[in-house]
């Protein structure tokens, strides 16, 4: 099973994309969403998720908010910022370009 962060740089793209569709997810939900949607193909290593989230928060692409859940526990929910939307666009087109290039190599080599 591939790990999301083994595909270079794809972790940011995945997190941003998920958050653009479903704002207000906490770390665990983001992780499970990536796994579910990819049909368990992509798996996020829990250890690298949080530093990545905090790095993106620091970069201003996402922002976080503490909420208190019904269980009384606090959770930190993330959502996309305007800068994050822009970044997502950039990452998406870069991804398209890369896969296109890889496909061409596979086809024509």
């Amino acid at each position: 099973m591939a790990k999301a962060d083994s595909l270079q740089g794809s972790m940011d793209l995945l997190v941003l994309k998920i958050l653009s569709r479903r704002p207000g997810l906490h770390g665990y939900a983001i992780m499970t969403a990536i796994q579910d949607i990819s049909g368990e193909v992509l798996r996020v290593e829990e250890g690298s998720l949080y530093p990545a989230l905090h790095r993106m928060e620091e970069a201003g692409w996402i922002r976080a908010e503490w909420i208190t859940k019904d269980t009384g526990r606090r959770a930190r929910l993330y959502e996309l910022t305007a800068a994050g939307k822009k970044q997502l666009g950039a990452e998406e087109s870069r991804w398209q370009a890369v896969t296109l290039a890889v496909n061409r190599v596979l086809r024509e080599a």
Partner: protein, 886 residues
């Protein structure tokens, strides 16, 4: 996340940790809630601590965080060693404070640009010539000279005439309400050239400075307006009478501008054209400075060349009017060279007089600061020895070398920072205090001493420099620690001890220098104040009086008579100005019709009884009689007899006074008195002096009117000032035309002659005391440390029967060797460098053995005193206890 937030996170590190932990914890909870096995979930998640570190570093600034941690640790470290830390911080504070105070003074007097437009383009004309005491420079010009120069460089520069600031009598009402203020004549275009704006009213323009005597207008300075009128805008339009001329006040200059004479705050500006016409027209009356404001893009050199040519042409013309010049004098006259000096910081005599003393002050301060640094470095090295294990442990558990350097440097900066705050406070107090000692209290130097970015920047740079100076060596030392040997306890102590000893030698050398210089200044002051004046200043009060219009001698005598009636008055006499007040009148004399002599004679008009009142004893002859008038009789001093009569008793002989017009009048010598000092320069020998009668007649025998003079009063009471206000009132009571514009005791005048020397002596002593204290602490610290280090060795030596003397020698010999080396080095540096400031000394030389012996003795005694405690400690070591403890 903003930089600010990241910085904020540095100080709320704990909370940040909690937040990250909570988020990670909630992740695991969530996983468990989704049915995962708790143990498996935690294992899959990995080390929480590692995640926290990873997240933490992006959420705050890592280096700032470590800095914070170091600061906290450093603070604890300071707290742990309170006494040594306090000693280090206090001595650093003293060093930084003294340096800052010195910088503030030097900056205010010599460096700070005038608050005028394009101060960097401002220059002043000066001249270099040869005077009686060798090379001399002066910066005065005559007005016609100024006008010609201005016309000649019109294209390249604007020239601005500014008179010397003069404290004049002026009044806003009657004669009885006279007051004194600094008045300065300036070119009408000065304000616009300097870009100075009015605070109220208007300032002069070039039109106010055209026709002589036509525009009797005055502009006040903001400072004077505030002091005298409490910023009353209604002052515009009022009239101030200065001399005989009423001036209408037209405005007040803006606050920042207090004139171009640094150290003096001008009260009233008047247009040049209002100066009396004879002065304005005279080519030989040098009474003002010429400022040059270069036009943009113009270099100094061509302007200087042009002005030199003009000056030479002027000299060619002037020399034709001097009929009595010898060829030698003529040659000197033409050798005078025009200079264009930069004047961005203004131009004043105070700058000239205090440039070198302040330079020396700066050197003394720097030496003290270096002693402080050496001291603190020593303290820290000693502490570092105690912390070698801690450092080794840090290295052993993986701290980088740089991290250790940072740790020690942060501790050093913490010290320097605290010291800078204390030092800043010290400087805040000390700079105005020293500035107040520059001039007599009735006429203080007014230096602007703002605490602005210049001062702040200086303190910051100084503190940083000092931190590196005293902190870098211990820091590098700490980082070079070898964990294996340090943890075993075998750190190389010899090397560390050697560094400390070298630092002691350096300290002693500097300390010696400071003491040496201080000793020379104190001796100079002492010799100058004990220089005999030849008269008695005790209980003498000088009432300097002026009259509305010049008055005949009979009226002056009337006032004198009246003052004799005042109770507590012992005697009264008259003279033109007080002795040693700085004013003088010189004349050329001739013996037996010969050419006038080269040596000038001081002339002083005195009334009968003045000699006795001043306690100047007669060697022969008699005092003046009432009916004797100038220029018919004279009393001469010993210097006069030596110069003109080969030391013989000159009573009954005659000499001629030669007027500048060439006219001669024959004078009979009626009396012969001992030398007494009348001029203000104590360093020069007393010159030939001829006293002449106070009352004067002209060639036709008509009494000459006199507009100013001094009543010299000797009182019965020990404090003559107690009578001052009474006497001030009695003068106009005797004759309403008279009023007193200044009262000074003779003692005060004498003291004022040595103000600069006193300042140097006081500051020298202060720094000598500080240097000595620090030097003593330094020696003590090193000895103390070496006793601690060698405890075991000493214990064994005592156990095997070493004598007290042997132990004492063992402990002190190295340090004393360093003291001697330091003192010799200090002496060598002193003998070489003090040549350059010899002109500030009087009758003492850097090579006098007594002047060298004094600091030697003091340094050695201090070292001995500092050694007592450590030696006592060494000999009291109990070998049994010592060996048991090991």
């Amino acid at each position: 996340m903003s930089l600010w937030k990241r910085m904020a996170n540095v100080v709320r590190g704990e909370r940040l940790n909690r937040e990250i932990d909570e988020e990670l914890e909630s992740h695991i909870e969530e996983a468990i809630a989704h049915g995962r096995d708790p143990v498996e979930a935690r294992r899959a998640f990995g080390s929480a601590l590692r995640h926290r570190e990873g997240s933490r570093d992006v959420r705050l600034i890592a280096w700032l965080e470590s800095l914070r941690a170091d600061s906290v640790f450093g603070w604890r470290q300071l707290n742990k060693t309170k006494i040594t830390s306090a000693a280090a911080i206090l001595s650093l504070a003293l060093g930084i404070g003294a340096s800052t105070a010195g910088f503030r003074l030097i900056d205010a007097l010599l460096l700070r640009p005038l608050p005028v437009a394009n101060a960097e383009r401002l220059h002043v004309i000066a001249f270099e010539g040869t005077g009686p005491n060798g090379k001399m420079t002066y910066d005065s010009c005559s007005y016609p000279m100024f006008r010609q120069m201005r016309a000649d460089v019109k294209e390249q520069a604007e020239l601005i005439a500014v008179s010397y600031a003069d404290r004049l009598d002026l009044t806003y009402g009657s004669d009885q309400e006279m007051e004194r203020e600094y008045v300065q004549f300036i070119s009408g275009w000065m304000f616009s050239a300097f870009g100075v704006k009015p605070a109220v009213g208007r300032l002069f323009s070039a039109d106010d400075d055209g026709e002589p005597g036509a525009h009797a207008y005055a502009v006040l300075s903001h400072d004077y307006w505030t002091r005298r009128f409490g910023k009353d805008p209604a002052v515009v339009g009022r009239t101030v009478r200065i001399g005989e001329t009423p001036y209408q006040i037209i405005g007040v200059a803006e606050k920042r501008f207090t004139g171009t004479e640094t150290g003096t705050s001008i009260g009233i500006f008047l247009p040049m054209a209002m100066k009396n016409p004879q002065t304005l027209e005279s080519w030989n009356n040098f009474w003002m400075r010429t400022f040059i404001q270069l036009k943009p893009g113009v270099a100094v050199e061509p302007v200087q060349e042009r002005l030199r040519a003009t000056f030479h042409a002027i000299q060619e013309e002037r020399v034709k009017t001097f009929l009595t010049l010898t060829p030698q004098q003529k040659e000197l006259f033409f050798k005078e060279k025009l200079l264009v000096d930069t004047a961005a910081a203004g131009r004043s005599n105070l700058q000239r007089d205090y440039k070198r003393p302040l330079g020396i002050l700066a050197v003394l301060v720097a030496l003290v600061l270096l002693i402080v640094c050496a001291n603190v470095a020593n303290l820290m090295t000693a502490q570092a020895a105690a912390r070698a294990r801690e450092m080794a442990l840090r290295v052993a558990i993986g701290a980088g070398r740089w991290r250790l350097v940072q740790l020690v440097l942060v501790e050093s900066s913490l010290r320097a920072f605290l010291a800078a705050i204390l030092g800043g406070l010290f400087a805040w107090w000390a700079a105005p205090c020293v500035a107040g000692m520059i001039n007599p209290p009735d006429d203080p130097a007014r230096l602007s001493l703002p605490a602005d970015w210049r001062v702040f920047g200086f303190v910051a740079m100084l503190s940083a420099g000092v931190t590196l100076l005293f902190g870098l060596a211990p820091a590098l030392k700490a980082s070079a620690v070898r964990p294996a040997s340090a943890l075993k306890g075998g750190e190389n102590l010899v090397v560390r001890g050697r560094l400390m000893h070298v630092l002691v030698a350096v300290q002693v050398a500097f300390c010696f220098l400071v003491l040496f210089v201080a000793g020379l200044f104190v001796a100079t002051f002492d010799r100058l104040t004990h220089e005999t004046t030849g008269f008695s200043a005790e209980r003498v009060l000088n009432l300097e009086a002026v009259t509305h219009q010049a008055q005949p001698p009979a009226f002056w005598e009337q006032v004198e008579e009246h003052l004799r009636e005042v109770p507590e008055v012992e005697s009264v006499a008259m003279t033109t100005w007080p002795l040693m007040s700085g004013e003088s009148w010189v004349g050329e004399i001739s013996i037996g019709g010969a050419a006038p002599s080269d040596v000038l004679t001081d002339l002083l008009a005195v009334s009968p009884g003045w000699m006795e009142e001043m306690r100047i004893p007669f060697l022969d002859g008699r005092d003046f009689r009432r009916e004797e008038t100038y220029p018919n009789a004279a009393i001469v001093n010993q210097a006069f007899a030596n110069q003109f009569f080969r030391g013989e008793d000159p009573v009954g002989k005659r000499f001629e006074m030669v007027a500048s017009s060439g006219g001669r009048s024959s004078v009979e010598i009626a009396g012969f008195v001992k030398d007494a000092r009348s001029r203000d320069n104590l360093r020069l020998p007393i010159r030939p002096t001829a006293y002449v009668p106070f009352s004067a007649v002209d060639a036709a025998g008509t009494p000459q009117l006199r507009g100013r003079g001094t009543f010299v009063v000797r009182t019965h009471s020990a404090n003559p000032l107690a009578l001052a206000s009474l006497l001030r009132q009695e003068v106009p009571r005797a004759r309403p035309e008279f009023y007193v514009n200044n009262i000074r005791t003779q003692a005060e005048i004498n003291l004022a002659r040595t103000f600069r020397e006193r300042l140097l002596a006081v500051l020298g002593l202060f720094f000598a005391g500080v240097a000595l204290l620090l030097g003593g602490v330094g020696v003590y610290g090193v000895l103390h440390y070496s006793v601690l280090q060698r405890k075991r060795e000493i214990g064994i030596r005592i156990a095997v029967g070493a004598q007290v003397g042997v132990i004492a020698r063992l402990v002190t010999v190295d340090a004393f060797l360093m003291v001697v080396i330091g003192a010799v080095a200090g002496l060598a540096v002193g003998m070489v460098s003090l040549r350059f400031i010899e002109s500030l000394f009087y009758q003492v030389r850097a090579t006098d053995w007594t002047m060298m012996a004094f600091p030697w003795a003091v340094v050695l005694l201090t070292a001995l005193a500092a050694a007592i405690a450590p030696v006592m400690r060494a000999v009291r070591i109990d070998p049994v206890e010592m060996l048991r403890a090991e």
